[in-house]
């Protein structure tokens, strides 16, 4: 039996697959899809052998910058990003959390200088699973649940 697509295919753009179901809206917000001019769709609670439940986001006419990919890695480190051209997958990449995060997250320490002056935030990724980052300025270490995106 032909597998039915829950969301229609796109001609040109990006498909983000294997998003944890509870992170779909976060990813959409990160990519500012609210202000995206072309078609996009978010499908969540899809059955997945690998994840149990997953989400997929399809965005017409948009190709992600490396900064956007890095941002996604912060909230959903296991997603796959597919570049679509003429309805075909031209490139498939798994996101990777970089070792250095520049201006991607806000320091959760209220006494950190970066929350009082205009400074490009800089975090070192100490661990990816579980995620652990260290602020270059105040040197505090934060886990995934304490991370606030810019």
């Amino acid at each position: 039996m032909k597998k039915e697509l829950k969301v229609s295919a796109i001609e040109n753009g990006t498909v983000i697959d294997h998003i944890p179901a509870d992170a779909a809206l976060k990813v959409a917000r990160l990519l500012d899809l609210e202000n995206h001019a072309e078609l996009f769709s978010i499908a969540s609670n899809l059955q997945s052998k690998r994840q149990g439940k997953k989400a997929i986001i399809k965005i017409s006419g948009k190709y992600l910058t490396s900064e956007e990919v890095n941002k996604i890695a912060l909230v959903a480190p296991d997603v796959t990003v597919n570049i679509i051209t003429n309805f075909e997958v031209k490139k498939k990449t798994e996101v990777q959390l970089p070792n250095l995060l520049l201006n991607l997250i806000q320091c959760s320490n209220p006494n950190c200088i970066t929350n009082h002056e205009s400074v490009t935030t800089k975090f070192y990724v100490l661990g990816k699973e579980p995620m652990k980052v260290k602020c270059h300025y105040c040197e505090h270490v934060f886990g995934a649940k304490d991370i606030e995106l810019m």
Partner: protein, 306 residues
């Protein structure tokens, strides 16, 4: 790594050989207290947060080496009050001096200052984060009074949550062999997880307890700290814990004869004055060690010694 023009911001930036080199130069400084090593050099002492020992010992160190010092002792007299950013203040001040010593209530302020300035910056305390020259003088005191930095059992007592001195000292001691740490604090003020994790990763054993007498007989050094009112977000929380530990002569029945008691000062009531004249008390000597250690740092960073 050479010290000339280097910023001194965090104890994490020091290797073991860096630490030992500073202690070696400090020892030489102690043997020859006055010199012309820093003649013609000017230090800017930017104390956005009050300090007595650190500020005065930096100024004294500079002047004993024939250098000059200028600056301020409170943010109230600076343009910060007019809304000037730290970045701008540093860009301006660096044109007047050869080296900047900064204390600030915000964590990371010294690191940011070092990025703004082309001249070297020394962190004299940034909030509850780092105070590297205090850690260096703590190590110097341990080395001087115990004769070693390896094979030590060190207890840290009091506010281990907000106390930057104990955080940095624990990290610095982790460079040495056969160290065991004892964290003595109420649960709410225990050593933060990030430091416990860092020690575990380096294979440094530690124990945690609320009761000093559970572990006091084991200790070679007891590092007491003040419960710092200014660091508590909630004053009620402070009231609950102030005065929780008070070292007095009853301690003497529960320690090794060669135990040394340290404290970064100021003390409030953590150590009774009745202990001051015992052979165990080294806290005033510790404060005095700020001079040779800060002379060593200033001379190394300004390139007057290698």
């Amino acid at each position: 790594m050479p010290f000339k023009n280097r910023d001194i911001i965090s104890i994490y930036d020091f290797s073991k050989s860096d630490l030992l080199h500073v202690l070696k130069v400090a020892s030489a400084m102690e043997k020859a207290p006055r010199s012309n090593l820093l003649r013609g050099k000017i230090m800017g002492a930017l104390f956005f947060e009050p300090s007595t020992r650190t500020r005065l010992s930096f100024i004294s160190s500079m002047e004993q080496l024939s250098g000059q010092a200028m600056g301020f002792a409170t943010a109230k007299v600076t343009s910060t009050r007019k809304g000037e950013t730290l970045w701008d203040s540093i860009k301006m001040i660096e044109q007047y001096v050869d080296i900047i010593v900064i204390r600030h209530h915000l964590e990371g302020a010294a690191r940011l200052a070092s990025e703004a300035a082309k001249i070297p910056v020394i962190n004299a305390g940034d909030g509850s984060n780092q105070h590297p020259t205090q850690t260096l003088l703590d190590l110097y005191t341990i080395q001087k009074t115990k004769g070693r930095l390896d094979n030590l059992k060190v207890g840290m007592l009091g506010d281990l949550k907000y106390g930057r001195t104990v955080h940095s000292l624990a990290i610095a001691l982790s460079h040495f062999s056969n160290i065991k740490l004892y964290f003595i604090a109420p649960d709410a003020l225990r050593m933060p997880k990030e430091y416990r994790d860092a020690l575990s990763e380096k294979g440094i054993p530690f124990e945690e307890t609320e009761n000093l007498f559970d572990v006091s007989k084991e200790l070679d050094v007891l590092y007491a700290t003040r419960i710092q009112q200014e660091r508590f977000p909630d004053p009620l929380e402070y009231e609950k814990y102030k005065g929780i530990y008070r070292l007095d002569k009853t301690l003497l029945n529960h320690i090794k004869p060669e135990l040394k008691i340290m404290h970064p000062l100021p003390r409030v009531d953590e150590i009774s004055p009745e202990l001051d004249n015992t052979k165990h008390a080294v806290y005033f000597e510790q404060a005095g060690n700020g001079i040779p250690v800060r002379k060593a740092i200033l001379s190394l960073v300004l390139g007057a010694v290698k």
